[in-house]
Each structure stands twice: as structure tokens, then as C-alpha cells.
């Protein structure tokens, strides 16, 4: 089994790399490929089970796109083929939309994998805690970003927000999901913070021989956070 982490030298904000450490401890004999900025993504040529990309700065988004756009058609073919599962956290999913609009109205070319688009609004940072419903489970997390993404419809939304705000900064639809791609504005150690989601992901990948390390404590931490989301005095930003 091969797991690819895209551009870890740039996509490493908010404790995202905790997911990589966690996957290394969950899986018995994984091969990790860390694809750097000047490398060709491994999933284009090799059999990659899971490809993860985490959040980065807006400037680094554009640097990464300057490399990825070379393989735009191949990347979109790989997504369409369904051979690799993609997990995109934070603003990584913005790279796969139709375009990113900068604050001055100019546009950044993106991979156009999905009919969604992003508008940046720096220096206004948008922060919110999020509890959303995904496959009958409650995903818990947090987003912090200088942008919102529009055009996400119910049929491609990853989850419905129960507490907090969706990807457009206003509605309740959060993230994108196709058969083999999950993109969410949730940041950081998503797999650690949401053990049921990790189990779902492994099931989706037909991985059976995994161990969720420290499972009892993972669930204790999750349950306390889930209860905290129920507090009436909670302030969302």
C-alpha cells in the first residue's frame, strides 16, 4: 500500500502533519511517498492508495499550482479514474476548483476538477468551529482561512454543518466529495480528532488490517470535544 503526501514542505499548517504520523502508526506496512515541490506526483504514474494534501499559505498555493498545472489533464484523469483516494484538508481543495479570485479581482488558474470557485478576502480571516454530519457521524473540527468557496451543491458537498458555517462562509454545506475525493476546510489532525471518520476512510479503501492506536483515549478526547460543542454559551469564532 502506498500513501502519498503532496508538498509536505509547504502544506504543513495547523498540525496537519499529525495525520501523516497517525497513518504511519495505524497501518502495518505502509509505503509513504513525500512528494516535494519539484517532483511529479506519484499518483500519476504509480499505484497510490491514498493521496493527502494539507493546507498552506495563499502564496504557496500559487507556487504549488505553478507546478501542478503542468499535469492538469493527467491529474483530472487520475481523479476521474478513481484509482487513488484523495484527502484534501484546509485550503487544499481550492486548488481543484474552477479558479481562485484574489482580493484585487484577478484570478488564479486552478485545476478545474470541480465546478466550484474560491474568493479570497484577506486580511479578513474567517475562523469557526465546525460540527458537521458525515455518513451518520459527527465530524468535529475547526477552520481558519482567508477565503470562501462557492458553488458547492448538495450532490457534491462532503457534509452538512450542524454547528458553525459551511464552505461559503454563510451556508451549511461543507467541503466536497466525489466517489474517491474528499475535500474539507477542516484543518489539522482530522483523522486523530475524528476516529470514526478514520475508520470510515479505511473501510472505503478496503483496508482491514489496521490498528487504531490508543483507540480508547482517541474516543475519550472526541467525546469531551463533542459535548463541548453542545454548550449553549459557545462562541463560534
Amino acid at each position: 500500500m502506498k500513501i502519498e503526501i503532496l508538498y509536505p514542505e509547504l502544506c504543513c499548517l495547523y498540525g496537519d502533519q499529525g495525520n501523516t504520523k497517525f497513518l504511519q502508526q495505524c497501518l502495518p506496512d505502509p509505503e509513504f511517498v513525500f512528494t516535494g515541490l519539484n517532483d511529479k506526483p506519484a499518483f500519476l504514474d504509480d499505484e497510490v492508495t491514498l493521496c493527502c494534501m494539507y493546507s498552506c499559505s495563499e502564496k504557496n498555493q500559487e507556487i504549488i499550482l505553478s507546478r501542478m498545472l503542468k499535469w492538469k489533464d493527467e491529474i483530472n484523469q487520475a481523479i476521474a479514474s478513481g484509482n487513488t483516494m484523495f484527502l484534501l484538508l484546509g485550503n487544499a481543495m481550492e486548488l481543484f476548483g474552477s479558479y481562485i479570485e484574489r482580493e484585487d479581482g484577478t484570478k488564479v488558474d486552478t485545476l478545474q476538477s470541480f465546478d466550484i470557485y474560491t474568493k479570497r478576502h484577506a486580511p479578513k480571516r474567517f475562523n469557526t468551529l465546525i460540527m458537521s454530519e458525515f455518513e451518520g457521524m459527527e465530524l468535529l473540527g475547526y477552520t481558519s482561512r482567508f477565503s470562501d468557496t462557492f458553488g458547492i451543491t448538495e450532490d457534491i458537498a462532503m457534509s452538512k454543518v450542524k454547528i458553525g458555517t459551511g464552505s461559503d462562509g454563510n451556508g451549511k454545506l461543507e467541503g466536497i466529495r466525489t466517489n474517491n475525493l474528499i475535500g474539507t476546510y477542516l484543518l489539522g489532525p482530522l483523522l486523530i480528532a475524528n476516529p470514526d471518520f478514520t475508520k470510515w476512510l479505511f473501510a472505503k479503501l478496503n483496508i482491514e488490517n489496521y490498528t487504531l492506536p490508543f483507540e480508547k483515549d482517541l474516543y475519550k478526547g472526541y467525546e469531551i470535544r463533542r459535548k463541548e460543542f453542545q454548550r449553549p454559551e459557545l462562541v463560534m469564532d
Binding site: 498540525g15 502508526q25 468551529l129 484543518l187 486523530i192 490508543f214 478526547g221 463541548e228 454559551e233
Partner: protein, 216 residues
Amino acid sequence: MNKEYDVVIIGGGPAGMTAAIYAKRAALSTLVIEKQPFCGGQVLNTYEVDNYPGFPGIDGFSLSDKFHSHAKKLEAEFKTGEMKELRDEGATKVVVLKKGEEIRAKAVVLAMDDYYDRKKSIEYIGWIYDVDYELLNKEDVVQVIATGPRCYDHKVRLLMAGVPEDKISCAEEELDGVDLIKTSDVESVYILYDTSTYNLSCRMKEKLVKNLEVAQ
């Protein structure tokens, strides 16, 4: 009617005193309200502040005194008191102190310990994966106690860092964690706290001292 200040700053720590310096430099009438008899907040009890430009190795009390002198020289006013309520009357904000006094201002800057606001939020756990918990995976660290509502999240991070599970204890209430310290086994106890839980860390220290006195 009482005097109305341009700016009232709640909290006389480094942030509050810095705000006072800026406000006075903008020629605004300024009052700093600090609940402790001395301004300085957490830095007062810091043995050495070695990262403040221009004052290498200065102790926290002296640095705080310099901040205070600077603000006083610019004629910022200081008052000891604790805010009970903040009332918004439109153009005027009213700070109500615990002793009942009301102070009026055009603007209020809150620069205080935010620990007591924590029920309004949920600590995001991402930061603990940007911190080298691996440094605690050492033979001479004989016990690690994770406390507070995130204790199990910290425990998972410690386990991922290779810290043996039998060295780790958890307490959901911070002060309960003090009772878990195996004082007979340790030479030193370090209390790690964030910038908003300094007062809590002091209470933990006081409880530990009492526990040690009882044990003797």
C-alpha cells in the same frame, strides 16, 4: 457625572501597558485597571525574560516596572480594581468594578487573562501536532500528567511521541492533576501552561506545596 476617559484598559499586563503607551502617545486620556496591586501580570513572576529586544536577561519584575514607568511618564492613570460588568451605552461604555464603582469611557480595551472565557470556546487540538512532545520521551522524565479537557488529546500525542503509557496520567480537572504527582519519585516538577492559564498554574503550584507539607 464622572469623568469619561477616552480609553479604559482592563488588565495591566504587558499588553495592557503597551496599549496604554500607544493610547497616551495618541493624546488620549487613559486609565489602566489592574486587579492585582502591581501591574505586570504573568511577567511579574517570570525569572528571566530573555527574548525581549534590548533587555537581554532582564527579570520579569524589572521589565514590568519599566513598562509601568514608561506608561506613567506619559501620564497614563492606573487603578487597582476588578471588573464585574461592562455595559455598552452606545457612545459611552461603562466599566463596573466589583466594589460598585462605575467608570465611563469612549472605548474599552480588554487585555486580561482569558482563561475564564474558555467555556465559550473549544480548544483546537491542531497545535499539539506542531509541538515536539518527543522531547518528553526521555528516561529522566518519570511522569507526565496531562490535565484539563484536552487531557486525552495530549495523551494520544504523548503516546504517538513514544512516551510509555505507564508514565502518563490524565485528569480532566486541572487541579486534580496535582494529586496524581508521585512526589516521592521526582526531583523536580514542571508545570507547563499557556498564556491564558497562568493564574491556574499558580493555584496548581500552591496545591502541590500544600500536598508536600501534608506529606512531611
